[in-house]
Symmetry: C2
Subunit: 340 residues, 2 copies
DNA sequence: CTGAAAGCGCTTACAG
DNA sequence: CTGAAAGCGCTTACAG
């Protein structure tokens, strides 16, 4: 259907390779020849087939991005800057989701259709990184880590979560709770570590019954709030494994008539856009996700260009953003089940 | 680097085409041959190169999805079901953004790297649809329309917006305002038409100074609220071109101390997930975006399978979802600038 | 049942 | 400066 370089060659009265050279701007092509070829190409609406080019060049200029769930409001914060970065660098973005067991198989990623891969979602025990490594397929971890020696762009989650621990203690809270993310994710695990470490540094600890681990989702955050408030000694402050969980907690709070921050302090992690909406005003740990994503893109492109370079782990230091979802513990005025 | 079918052939002691046949499950291959080939393939970690396959088969099993802005919280509602639908049908998803003038060129979409394209974002005057049509590249409009005879999956926007007009009138509002979407988008245009039509049906009209058109974005919605409230006769009810605009309006309201719905009724369109959060409680027009996206996917795949079939326009009828952002006009108790 | 041949549409040494 | 040749890695008639 579509015209090929042969058609253009015939029309321009040159050989097919000359069409290729002329259109790619090869310096040795005579100006007049180039003109004729360009004219013929235009006449035929010719666009060089990337199918042919890709097979010939062994480069696809395509990057795979693996996210867990497109529905999760966290991912656009990674996907958008990643896509823009790659687009500008002349690469296209192919989307993969890795939900439950149902992730992309190594075969899908290793069929030569991708120049490199961004893993944003891998669980600590995912077999994908090792498999990619074994096949020498360039990839980078974004917001994730693993034991594998690989490129990664991450936030210092331990540090960031400790900031929250420090804050909650300083605000005078004692019944501190946590809705951690999954331990199988490095972000979930590291944020838990940092938070616990901070509490023990201050001589506090996290009561077992006030700590849960849930997937990074709105609905799980929402449900977790109910669970924790049903404890005999419910928390007055809650660290959430990320903003999406915190948003769920906030939502549950409205539903349950729990006032934020008077009855409950809630702190998230990531600082996604929604956290800063006036309605929401979530106090959280700010990560520069745009920069994080671009850094990952950069690492991947460098790895593609030079497969043998040293692996680098780029760590970004986050900081607290104080908004309206935290408050000093108010012992006297608390209208809840204080008198028991 | 990676093993090719030739390597497998050598190891299995067969010809290269036999490897291809064996691995694709061609019925004529002898069981014992197939076994040997499979074993060799496994030993070499062989995965058939999709670069070769694609050139040979003239099918890429790749679908391009064009959205305007990945950052906009609306798009995941289309992207997620689209991606899932295509994935399940054996197609991959390549992402394109079309922001401002900076959209994908027809050359990018016509280079043979895509089997079909979903346009979710096209402005009425976009040259893309005509160019795709001219080149016989299968595509479908999702949540968009144009004059082009093409497949499309849309919501009855005129009808949905009229529902809002009816509601506002029935609630007793007279100073009715609107933050429409862009007229250059069929959704923006049709929702404006439907809304105006409903008002005139009830003998009302929209004061010019109470109607603005803005891009479908949070920040524009936010800014528009300020603009409209600064009018000499500010509105008591506001129709928003979509939920994202409405969310911006809600955000501005918090900032400006405008109470929703006591001081101002706000109604959106789309019913994205956030609209139903307890915090938000946005009254809006519900569209089944999941179904809409799957319908579009379906239309596109059918078009790919049969380029000559009749074009179909699938129209979904939306309905109102009453939540907490609307209220009956309360003349006496209004504490605002009533006494002038 | 399986091999040899041709072809998908490019790019890039290699000659001349 | 440009053509003929080879090759990228598959698939699929075509023979046998």
């Amino acid at each position: 259907m579509a015209a090929t370089s042969k058609d253009v060659a015939r029309l321009a009265g040159v050989s097919q390779p000359t069409v290729s050279r002329a259109l790619r701007g090869h310096p040795s092509v005579a100006p007049e020849t180039r003109r004729r070829v360009e004219e013929a190409a235009r006449a035929l609406d010719y666009v060089a087939s990337e199918r042919g080019r890709v097979l010939s060049l062994r480069k696809t200029h395509r990057i795979g991005i693996v996210v867990s769930d497109l529905t999760n409001p966290f991912y656009p914060h990674l996907l958008a800057p990643l896509h823009d970065y790659f687009k500008q660098a002349g690469f296209r973005t192919v989307l993969f989701t890795e939900q439950d067991e149902d992730g992309p198989t190594i075969e899908e990623l290793a069929d030569g259709s991708l120049d490199g891969i961004v893993l944003t979602t891998s669980l600590v025990d995912s077999p994908l990184p090792a498999a990619l490594m074994h096949r020498d397929i360039p990839f980078v971890f974004l917001n994730r880590e693993s034991d594998a020696t690989a490129d990664s762009a991450v936030v210092d989650n331990v540090y960031g979560a400790a900031l929250v621990g420090d804050l909650l203690v300083e605000l005078g809270h004692h019944r501190i709770g946590a809705v951690f993310g999954p331990r199988a994710a490095s972000t979930g695990r590291d944020r838990e570590t940092g938070f616990r470490r901070s509490l023990s540094k201050h001589g506090r600890s996290l009561a077992d019954e006030l700590a849960v681990s849930v997937p990074f989702s709105f609905s799980h955050g929402r449900a977790a709030l109910g669970t924790l408030l049903a404890r005999s000694e419910p928390p007055t402050a809650l660290f959430c494994g990320n903003d999406v969980i915190a948003l769920g907690v906030l939502d549950g709070a409205v539903e349950l008539g729990v006032r934020i921050p008077e009855d409950l302090t809630v702190v998230g992690f990531d600082d996604i856009t929604i956290a800063s909406w006036a309605h929401i005003g979530l106090t959280t740990v700010h990560c520069d996700l745009d920069r994080l994503a671009r850094t990952a893109g950069d690492l991947l492109l460098k790895r593609i260009a030079d497969p043998d370079r040293e692996h680098v782990r780029s760590i970004q230091r986050p900081h607290l953003v104080l908004r309206r979802s935290h408050a000093r513990l108010q012992l006297p005025s608390s209208p809840s089940k204080k008198e028991h």
